[in-house]
């Protein structure tokens, strides 16, 4: 009873202190928010390239091609005149200019080669390749809709996943994992370091509580704070339709989140006990979390990265956190769930162990 009261008091005190320490909140939330903004910007920039469309033929076939281009996921089409198109291209406002020539319908009917010209702003290979792939794809789609089509090759698509996930949604999961890691590592570290830096540790050590009670209270505080922020993110994501686990898949999602938060809290406490300085803990904690984020395939898909990064990713616990959350949230899948949760559980145990050892050693030395 006395132990429970003391653990709860330490946890409540640390949680309240976190909410009243803007620097700790900023240190925890700023990196994930920055990455989120980057993802939004990058998704907007690389997802649908802006192109100028010049249509010189008002015939029905030309208009059909225009509607195919306008409906394509690959472009953001802006209808314009040849002169304006040249201006937009020169001033880097569009990635390319697609011109449907005046002879398009005549050539189509005569089965003559139908040159749709594309001028590309080959600013970088990513833009260039997008256009090189997307324009022929649109033309193929155009011909595929014709009764007598010269194009006989089609693509039979079958999807591994039940539905598509857009880039921003997809990247939200590693960013959520980054948030959990930073919240755990930075806040666990700051809560421990603060006691040493502000010399309150002596008052705690001179109280009749055991060192185990003190450590338990601090780790609990960090875990609860992380889970509160995670809950807020999940509620907002659910409300905006971005992250919506279905049915019982909430359970593995929450289990993965809880274990990542616990591992982070343990590691953070270890860091705080070792460094004992607010600024040192914030710097080291943020860096560690961001490295873990990248090494677990935080940007892009780990499996598509160079082999050496994939090899490193498999030794990075957050990789399994991302995998478990993606499976549960996006794909309603239990593939690798056992493996992922086992690794996260082991990581949480190691994190807690390190936290306990580090803080206990420091408390004895105090």
């Amino acid at each position: 009873m006395a132990v429970r009261r003391a653990v709860a008091a330490i946890a409540a005190k640390d949680i309240l202190t976190w909410f009243r320490t803007p620097s700790a909140i900023v240190a925890s939330l700023l990196p994930p928010v920055a990455f989120l903004l980057i993802i939004f910007v990058v998704a907007g920039a690389v997802g649908r390239n802006p192109v100028a469309l010049v249509v010189e033929d008002n015939g029905p076939q030309a208009q059909r091609l225009v509607s195919v281009l306008e409906g394509s996921d690959a472009f953001r089409v802006r209808r314009t005149t040849p002169d304006d198109a040249t201006h937009l291209l020169d001033t880097l406002q569009v990635a390319g200019v697609i011109t449907v020539p005046a002879s398009f319908d005549d050539d189509f009917r005569a089965h003559r080669p139908d040159p749709v010209s594309v001028r590309i702003n080959n600013l970088n290979l990513d833009f260039t390749n997008d256009l090189r792939r997307s324009v022929p794809a649109a033309i193929t789609e155009f011909y595929a809709g014709q009764a007598e089509t010269p194009i006989t090759v089609g693509v039979a698509e079958s999807d591994l996943r039940p539905h598509d996930v857009n880039l921003v949604q997809f990247e939200l999961v590693p960013i959520l994992v980054l948030l959990l890691t930073i919240m755990g590592v930075v806040n666990g570290g700051l809560a421990a370091a603060r006691e040493f830096e502000e010399l309150t540790i002596k008052a705690l050590l001179l109280s009749p509580i055991s060192r185990g009670t003190l450590i338990a209270g601090k780790i609990l505080a960090c875990w609860v704070t992380t889970m509160m922020v995670a809950a807020l993110v999940l509620i907002l994501s659910y409300a905006f339709g971005v992250l919506q686990p279905v049915g019982w898949y909430w359970l593995p999602a929450i289990a993965a989140i809880g274990l990542i938060a616990l591992a982070g809290a343990g590691l953070g406490t270890a860091l705080g006990g070792a460094l004992r300085r607010f600024s040192a803990v914030a710097g080291a904690g943020i860096n560690l979390s961001i490295y873990l984020f990248f090494l677990s395939g935080g940007i892009g898909v780990a499996a598509f990265l160079p082999e050496w990064i994939q090899a490193v990713a498999h030794f990075t616990p957050t990789f399994y956190g991302v995998d478990a959350l993606e499976a549960a949230i996006f794909y309603q899948s239990t593939d690798n769930l056992g493996r992922d949760l086992t690794v996260l559980l082991a990581t949480a145990a190691v994190g807690l162990g390190l936290g306990i050892i580090s803080l206990r050693r420091r408390l004895v030395a105090s």
Binding site: R5, K13, E198, L199, T200, K202, L204, L205, L206, P208
Partner: protein, 312 residues
């Protein structure tokens, strides 16, 4: 006979080849205000850490309130209230939240806790700032809050590290009153201080330690008088030379004589008779322009016992 509040026997603490506390033996009686004085690095903090169970002695024994510290340090901490030099308050929490947190750690019963906190905040004259964050408090307010926090679990023994360091004169006297009230209620108070006027005003007995060893232990007045009854401060012209100082020092009843920059300070014991002989000797060799007589100060006792060498 009541057992002492604190009893140290042959207490020694070594850090590698460095001996921080060297065979310290003393006892603090229940209900007294006891001062532990010493220059920086003399072993005060190490001694207190061992008394409170934070650090294990290399050898020797410590009994606090009848309990061996090494066998049950947590029991002792329950009966010990501490006011650290740095206050150790949570600045982002309110005064009330700090006290409630302390109550949770020390298992103060929840029943009646609010009234108890109210009474203590009134005692500290902080009731109106009950809901204010400690970060908005002055140094004196923080010190008063730290004191009542240490009183919250009604300890039998209260340790106060540098009670009035960094507080203004009004707060200092207010804190002294509070400490004397604690003594009146029967609480044993242990003080460490570098501020000898404070030790003189508060303490029933003082222990002066230096380089880990006990060099003096007595009441402030007896310590002062062990240094001499009277200090004569004489303004002379010219400054007395070494030969005059030697002659004065050789007089019976003279404890010490120091000449500097147009003055001669002589500590004597034996009253007016000795004073007369000193004055006669001095006027025979130099011109005496002014003479003042006073009691020795604790500063003088302290410096005579521990030296003037600066400590880190």
């Amino acid at each position: 006979m009541t057992e002492p509040a604190i009893e140290l026997t042959g207490l020694t603490k070594r850090f590698g080849s460095f001996t921080a506390v060297d065979g310290l033996s003393l006892s603090v009686e229940r209900g007294e205000i006891f001062g532990l004085l010493g220059p920086n690095g003399s072993g005060k903090t190490t001694t207190i850490d061992m008394i409170s169970g934070l650090s294990r002695p290399t050898s020797g024994s410590i009994t606090v309130l009848g309990t061996d510290v090494l066998t049950d340090p947590r029991k002792i901490r329950r009966s010990l209230g501490t006011v650290p030099q740095e206050n150790a308050l949570y600045e982002e929490l309110t005064a009330e939240a700090n006290l409630k947190f302390h109550a949770d750690l020390f298992e103060v019963p929840r029943k009646g806790l609010d009234q108890k906190i109210t009474a203590l905040l009134e005692l500290a004259q902080l009731q109106e700032r009950r809901k204010s964050r400690v970060s908005t408090f002055s140094g004196g307010m923080k010190r008063r809050l730290a004191l009542v926090r240490a009183m919250l679990h009604e300890p039998e023994l209260l340790y106060f590290d540098e009670p009035t360091l960094g507080v203004d004169v009004q707060s200092r006297h207010d804190l002294w009153d509070r400490i004397l009230e604690l003594k009146a209620r029967g609480t044993t108070v242990l003080i460490t201080s570098n501020y000898l006027e404070e030790a003189n005003a508060l303490c029933d007995r003082l222990a002066i330690i230096d380089r880990g060893r006990l060099v003096a232990l007595d009441s402030p007045s007896r310590l002062r008088h062990s240094f001499g009854d009277t200090v004569l401060e004489m303004r002379t012209h010219p400054t007395p030379g070494e030969d005059i100082v030697r002659r004065v020092t050789a007089l019976p009843g003279v404890v010490s004589a120091i000449a500097s920059d147009g003055s001669l300070k002589v500590t004597v014991e034996g009253g007016a008779d000795v004073t007369g002989k000193v004055v006669t000797e001095v006027v025979g060799w130099t011109s005496l322009q002014e003479i003042q007589s006073r009691e020795p100060s604790l500063d003088e006792v302290f410096l005579s016992l521990t030296g003037k060498e600066l400590r880190e």
